[in-house]
Symmetry: C2
């Protein structure tokens, strides 16, 4: 049985093709940033990404990370996740097919991505009501984990902050 996740190698090829098709250049820094993003199992910030990209290629600068993020976002290879902090989170868009909602745990600060298929219907309803063409939607829930508050740890991997 084949692994269900496509290997990073082939996604990196997709990224290279995307760059070329847009007339952008394939640089070592951009590849290092791509790899850093795809090796990260979770949500990350620009600063996280810089640190990891530098571990791969220490010539990567902060400016290049910030200049690469919009490109990666536009290619749909990473996704922007804004939960209303003063900085943005990002994550590799590994296998999202349905709409994802974010649940932010206020006790451990973790962000959970949850399938919310009903959001597609919601978007259509709103669009019809206002005669608007939906571009994107987001549903975010902040919540408390009683288990975590009580024991200091929860089975989702949260740790009290």
């Amino acid at each position: 049985m084949e692994p269900s996740t496509p290997d990073i190698e082939s996604i990196r090829e997709t990224f290279k093709e995307f760059l070329t098709s847009k007339g952008l250049r394939v640089t070592n820094q951009r590849l290092a940033i791509f790899d850093a993003a795809y090796e990260h199992p979770d949500h990350f910030t620009a600063e996280d990404l810089l640190e990891r990209a530098r571990a791969i290629d220490d010539s990567v600068s902060r400016a290049t990370v910030y200049r690469a993020l919009p490109i990666l976002t536009e290619s749909s290879l990473i996704r922007e996740v804004d939960i209303g902090r003063d900085f943005k989170y990002y994550m590799a868009n590994k296998n999202a097919t349905t709409f994802q909602a974010q649940v932010i745990c206020l006790d451990c600060d973790k962000i959970f991505e949850i399938d919310a298929p009903f959001m597609e219907w919601y978007g259509k309803t709103v669009a019809d009501k206002l005669a608007l063409q939906v571009e994107s939607q987001r549903l975010q829930v902040t919540a408390h984990c009683n288990e975590l508050k009580a024991s200091g740890i929860c089975e989702r991997g949260g740790k009290k902050r």
Copy 2:
């Protein structure tokens, strides 16, 4: 027939009572900021609020506005609306009874507040999957207005930016 909106005068009294009950002081600056917020018909930024508060009492400083915003938010007299820009919007919480979702028009930049009573169910459904207790939620839709794009103006009051 009585007007359906409670007059600002009585809401200001509520604000004064809130301050007193929290052991905070009723200052001219805080009242000016409150008035500026309630006179504003729409969403506003901290900077908007500063400008308007200064028109009422020109001794109001930016720092005081930023220090007053959390107080007003905690009192539920204003509401924070974060649509993922690098600054936050606020609005007077004049008559919100049900949950509000925001529809952000990408053509005119206007933020529309629409009733979304089912949002409670949405949030709960998503949080239930993680056995978490919902604290707050937000639902936002970004959309294009074809009418506005074509004619430069739309019946919802939007103007091309």
